[in-house]
Symmetry: C2
Subunit: 442 residues, 2 copies
């Protein structure tokens, strides 16, 4: 008997999903057993790239999640509501759920997975992170035999596109963002992407899977790329780095004993990545996720982070997993523990102030004798040991200075920066544009 | 009730596998339910890196595969026999099998999977290709919803290590091979690696999964790296390429109509890869597998291609998959179609002679007037259109010439080379050292 899918939404991803399901030839043989049974849309008469029989279309989305014949509800409408409520209602009706909605999962994952466990149903979300790249399933399954140390990703295509163009053209952020908006690579309101919020949602989801605990989204430190300038990129290049917006989830270690602690670092920020590092060569809208663990070492997954086809591929792969499980699982049997969500506790997250790293900062100061000495004092007063201070530009009596520190606590660095603001021309508080990474990126 | 594992072999990978299973803390919770029940070894008293209770060790491997309490037989002994016979006996006894043995699977996969289907058991082999990289499972599951066009891999760490060092040091093959042997990166008898046979085994397995059919290993064209010289690498570098030993499985297309045919190209050979291509930056012993399909586009998996820890991670991930399936699958239910092997037919493979590609060849000729004209005639006589002919070296009256062709049938190119041998100094038949790739590597 065919497995019946109820699709909520027939936008880009929804239409891509339907297109795969309606054309199973040349794909996994099990695909022929999956039926697009009902499709919920806002406007049933809108022309669409995929043909759905009119009697399968409805504007009544609730009727899909409560339809007793539907086995799997596929939520590809996006947005927080009514997506969240429909997912929860589907679960309460005993339906399995597939979703591409990172925002809902990152915010309401606790509520959703608790409900799913009680109902004994699966909630799968391969498409929520990394578009078409199979990363959620490997993290839950193949990589789960390892003790994961870190998951580091370039998980936002828009910012990676902008940074790649800044790198290649030597251009500044604002004009390239404007061009990316014109080309459809960035939204009219770009905040979710360029301020790192989308990447924060995604790293929260990845961390939850990698470290087997739930994540409070508010615990993820998130900093975007608005302050990265062409000068930063040029100077990083000279130092042997490229600047990437990295999303990092890492098991924290004691800075003194190096002992692994039962708490995580969770952060999104522009990062200087050595050019030889596997993540340094991930360009344009591509995404990549690097997983480090014991005993596997480093593995990386690379591919298209967005787009109708890749995202639909991920959605359908989840549908296929559930369909396969339904074919082999007895009615009275427990859910497959590799598909179900097993954890219930929240992960402890280290305060950002305690992170130890090397830092890079660019400051604008008046070009006058003693100013570098004054800067040095500001840093020294807070035990920030400096690796280099270099003047990279000078015009109109204003000098641009780049400071690279040795390893230091974030809190000390920030306090030193506050003090250094007194020496700076710029009325804004001095900005850290990128934490230089070293021992974390061999 | 614990899932009981019978381990055949306690060498590097076997000991790594036992080490993970005996120390489940911090890994997937289901790991605590997996027991190292019996371990087959040749010398029970040998000191080992992992402690196994003496009453679990045996030298009688047959007694493990016939033990009624064993659920999963894990074959990590390597070699063709008795590995093949023990795997078959385990299957006939209704045991699930996990193996890291690419040689056995590439040669006897037909026999083994036919037996497994009849017995209703799983035979999983994540460790057979790409060491720790999860690639077999994504190919069977998440990527299976796509129509796969091609799988292209750097799947042999030894040759990639040698080529990387040749590239970085400008050295020639023989001395670097000797050094690699000294360092333990190459075997005393390096043939399986440097002649491309190991890569052929692996691409046969990947092709079988990607294209849903069995592969006759004899159909895989395989050419190693012995003839690649420092001069080739330098010249490729000037042209914007690096030389990699690629294993390629690709759905063939009609060279005239571009229509996709129901037959595959299967080949292993040194290849000029554009420096901007994702596979170009995979260095040292690392492996990477690039999968291209519709609608996903390109995804790549990167990681350690060998080593006890990574390989053991892959072996244990298969054990975990079976254990999870046993926990959720009713006794009377069908096997999970995403874990089982579904295909039974053999794939049709295009003759190598019909492959259309650009080619690169380096020839040694006497430095005398007219010799390039003569070479040109040899190629022209067989409709091989030449893109460039460049003299790259001259000493002792012998000129080294590099010829790069436009797209041409392999058969025409080889016949032209045979004719060109008459002009060449070298008494050996002129060797193609690397096929230039273009439309296949955008």
């Amino acid at each position: 008997m065919a497995v019946k899918v109820g699709l909520l939404g027939l936008g880009t991803v929804g239409a891509g999903t339907a297109a795969i399901l309606l054309d199973p030839a040349g794909r996994h043989p099990l695909m022929a057993d999956i039926e697009v049974y009902r499709v919920g849309v806002r406007s049933p008469n809108k022309p669409r790239p995929v043909e759905i029989a009119p009697d399968r279309l409805t504007t009544d989305l609730e009727s899909i999640v409560t339809d007793p014949d539907v086995d799997i509800v596929v939520e590809v409408m996006g947005g927080l509501e009514p997506a969240r409520s429909l997912i929860l209602k589907a679960i309460h009706q005993g339906k399995h759920v597939v979703t591409a909605n990172k925002a809902v999962i990152a915010r309401y994952g606790d509520e959703i997975f608790t409900a799913a466990n009680e109902a004994g149903v699966y909630v799968l979300l391969e498409a929520a992170v990394g578009g078409g790249i199979p990363v959620i399933q490997p993290l839950k399954q193949a990589l789960g035999v390892n003790r994961i140390h870190a998951v580091t990703g370039i998980v936002n295509g828009t910012t990676n596109y902008i940074l790649t163009r800044m790198q290649q053209e030597g251009g500044d952020f604002e004009p390239i963002l404007a061009d990316a908006q014109k080309l459809g690579y960035a939204e009219a309101d770009p905040s979710a992407d360029v301020d790192g919020l989308d990447a924060a949602d995604k790293i929260a989801i990845l961390a939850s899977l990698a470290f087997g605990g739930r994540i409070n989204l508010a615990d993820v430190h998130s900093e975007g790329i608005r302050h990265v300038s062409a000068a930063d990129i040029t100077y990083a290049d000279q130092l042997g780095f490229v600047i990437k917006l990295l999303a990092i989830a890492r098991r924290d270690t004691c800075p003194v004993s190096n002992e692994v602690l039962d708490q995580l670092q969770l952060r999104v920020h522009p990062t200087l990545v050595p050019k030889t590092h596997p993540l340094a060569s991930i360009n344009d809208v591509y995404n990549a996720i690097l997983v480090e663990g014991d005993p596997i070492g480093q593995v990386m997954f690379f591919g298209p982070g967005a787009g109708a086809g890749p995202t639909a591929s991920a959605v359908v792969s989840d549908i296929l997993s559930i369909a396969a499980s339904l074919k082999s699982q007895g009615a009275t049997q427990a859910p497959n523990p590799l598909l179900a969500c097993t954890h219930q506790h929240y992960c402890k997250v280290s305060p950002m102030a305690d992170i130890v790293s090397r830092f890079y900062v660019r400051l604008r100061v008046l070009d006058q004798p003693g100013v570098i000495g004054q800067l040095g004092l500001c840093f020294g007063n807070h035990e920030v040991s400096i690796e280099s201070v270099v003047q990279i530009d000078l015009h109109d009596g204003v000098a641009e200075i780049v400071v690279v520190t040795h390893e230091v606590r974030e809190a000390n660095f920030q306090t030193a920066l506050d003090e250094a603001a007194g020496v700076c021309v710029h009325s804004d508080r001095a900005q850290r544009t990128a934490g230089v990474v070293d021992h974390q990126f061999r």
